[in-house]
Symmetry: C2
Subunit: 460 residues, 2 copies
């Protein structure tokens, strides 16, 4: 292989770490509908939101004016410890597939937390510290977000309490241990440390907990102290904003080599990684400067974009958060128990939802056995063991590259590889043992989920 | 922090990946004593060794002539998927310690296998493939080596059977699963697939196995087939040779910024990572061109350099391998059951042993609670969760930096960060729970180990 063409890994230099995030909210011609206070059904005010979230994050959440928002020096200094992340030209995968497509992936698993979540965790921890807070709370399910936030809080000297879904805490003791090593207090939820937890425990003794319950506990713990706030790892606009560092770097790295993508593919759970990856490219599409094919990939087990409704819904299953206008399966929807591929969220980032609704992107859903098939192939060929979540994007990138093989098109495909699968080996074991099953919700399951969508005038 | 000084991470470009390995054997003025055939007590011939190992590796093992050995293009292409590895300036750690020392670390955990082991795994798999072999065998204890070799064999299309110490296979099912995901056959050892395994099982039903037994099984499996060979992840000279890519890159990266180390620190188990890290620097020291202070760090629980004997010993506890002249605690030595920090090997690489014996380097031993204390501090400050093995080097680097704080010396310290601790969270849990204990072998334990050293004329 000659030395002077595009390298396997395109590393930008430290000085090329973006100095600004890209705010899709500012560039969208039709803004997404605002969060609603569930009591009044009126748009949430900044002050209301600031009781729960850090002030600067709320200001970013509501900023629909500035396309570029400065990344503070302190956050860039942290970014320097693991960014710029590599943009990899998947030469080995292209060769194995025999495709004329040119495949690139932006790898965000290149830090100890193992995923893109760190990009927003460090920002939120920094703003909390700057505001003079002593501590923050959050919830975590699979543990990627809790891990990333633990790292960020250790760095900035903030106390952190993570409410970890009890069943997950028991099934993933090693995830819990990473958080403890970073100094976080990890509480199995439901717990007796909050009113919400005690109530659930009384009502359902022996329950394994749920993300909805963990959110309730984390929010309660945060709002009952002046020096504490609640932080969230996806869905919200300011999280998408922080994740735009992925797209900004990808764009800079590709431009450095005179390459522009025909297609950008990312997995969609809450939507923050996908929103961040596409941000600056999508901004140009909205401005009529490109015609990139954007594809959000979701699990067939939890198909919020492809089979959900575009309505106002709660962000949590305990129905205590503001209402967001988004594609949702209903806040009471639960993916089938045998779903092992992650991306279990019932709704979708309001920004991503709006882009999809306005026709700027498309969405596809994939079954988990096909996802793990792609994951294993990718691991063996490209040498990186991918997270199940990330592997949704791999699956579709491979499928699109194989289409190019048939048509002879030399499309340039960029996909987001959000993280590593180190802590997902139980799911890989199911796949390796041949015991993994697919589960596509039937109409009755969907109807059951939709019945939990709030019955309010806005949804008529 | 200004932008034009030494960056946090020094990434060489892909074209700067070394084109040659550095062969310490060729530059040493006094060569280390050769391997002996245990039956004849005569030096092993190349032909004898080639029955067990790949031919090209044997030629490298015995090469005491060429200082530089070309890295084949195919191996360099694989290296491009994860190399050059970053050389990190530990600004955050320096600040936290308040030391005038300048600390650098070469991070080898930046690939899916999570450790430096991949550097030799890919080379050995390539040579096996080139020789026309269909398969290779190996053993693994903690799993780093087995994981790395699985990746390499998947890439080159070689069948791999890994004999994994049974107790380790049960305690680390996720490690086993990573290897399976890369297509390796993982056999809990002792097994009924070999004579050696069946014999042990008959003698000790219900045994949890040992590395010695796993080696016996892997070697038996390899030598009973013409198209199969056995590969090993440390100790041997050709493994140290492959690992010299670490030192070559470190040297190139430091020279690029006009920096030269006063001190190089690495952890020592079998010695291949340490030997590889120091190789080109040590070569210059032997030639009188520098006076770097080289420090090998070993666990107080398994102190082969600091408390062992420099004699001929078996490389395995089953006493089936050739005899190597090395620092050893005796091939029957077992670290205390509560030792969780890795680096459990009873002996030491013959090259490293000879360098130590000839006074070119020093060695220190550290207790595991102090090692994990440094590991946790490092994780919180530098953002990388280190492997327990690597943390031995962190401990001593921190101690040396603190000495500089006292004396005001601005020493430049380079240490090797060999891997990540993702699969070592049980050990971190012991530390986090406060249940981790230190164990320093008493004189009786050492005497017991020494009694297993072969009683041959060379050892008189």
């Amino acid at each position: 292989m000659s030395e002077n063409k595009i390298p396997y890994k395109i590393y930008l230099s430290e000085t090329e770490i973006p100095k600004q995030w890209y705010n899709l909210n500012a560039v969208m011609k039709i803004k997404h509908d605002p969060f609603l206070n569930p009591a009044t059904l009126k748009p949430c005010t900044a002050d209301e939101l600031k009781e729960v979230f850090c002030s600067e994050c709320v200001d970013q959440e509501l900023n629909r004016k500035d396309v570029y928002i400065d990344i503070p020096e302190e956050i860039r200094d942290f970014y320097k410890m693991y960014r710029p992340s590599p943009l990899v030209r998947a030469y080995c995968l292209e060769k194995a597939l025999g495709t004329p497509a040119k495949i690139y992936y932006k790898f965000e698993g290149n830090n100890t937390s193992g995923s893109h979540k760190l990009n927003s965790a460090v920002a939120q921890a920094y703003y909390a510290k700057k505001q003079g807070l002593k501590s923050v709370t959050t919830e975590t399910g699979a543990g990627q977000w809790g891990t990333a936030l633990s790292m960020a809080c250790a760095y900035f000297g903030l106390d952190l309490t993570v409410y970890m879904v009890k069943v997950s805490s028991e099934q993933k003791p090693h995830r819990r241990e990473v958080m403890r090593t970073y100094g976080a207090k990890v509480v199995a939820s439901p717990s007796d440390t909050t009113e919400a937890g005690r109530k659930i425990l009384k009502e359902f003794p022996g329950t394994g907990g749920s993300l909805g319950c963990a959110i309730s506990e984390a929010v309660e713990k945060a709002v009952t102290s002046d020096s504490c706030r609640y932080v969230l790892g996806s869905v919200l606009d300011h999280v998408v904003l922080h994740q735009s560092v992925i797209g900004m770097e990808s764009k800079a790295a590709m431009e450095k080599y005179g390459v522009s993508p025909d297609m950008i593919i990312g997995c969609c759970g809450g939507g923050s990684n996908f929103g961040g990856l596409i941000a600056p490219f999508m901004g140009e599409k909205i401005q009529g400067k490109n015609n990139i094919d954007f594809i959000g990939v979701e699990p067939a087990s939890c198909p919020s974009l492809t089979r959900g409704r575009y309505v106002y819904d709660f962000c949590d299953s305990a129905k205590i958060t503001p209402l967001a206008k988004m594609y949702t399966l209903g806040c009471g929807f639960m993916p089938a128990a045998n779903h092992a591929g992650g991306l279990r969220y019932h709704g979708m980032s309001p920004i991503v939802s709006a882009l999809y609704n306005q026709g700027y992107m498309r969405a596809v859903s994939v079954e988990q056995t096909k996802v793990f098939e792609a994951a294993e192939m990718f691991a063996r060929i490209e040498g990186i063991l991918p997270a199940p979540e990330s592997s949704h994007a791999i699956r579709v990138a491979v499928d699109e590259a194989l289409k190019c093989k048939e048509t002879g098109e030399e499309k340039t495909i960029l996909f987001g590889l959000t993280g590593t699968g180190y802590f997902d080996m139980s799911a890989y074991k199911q796949y390796n043992d041949g015991t993994m099953k697919d589960s596509i919700p039937d109409e009755a399951s969907l109807a059951q989920g939709f019945s939990t969508i709030p019955d309010i005038p806005q949804n008529k």
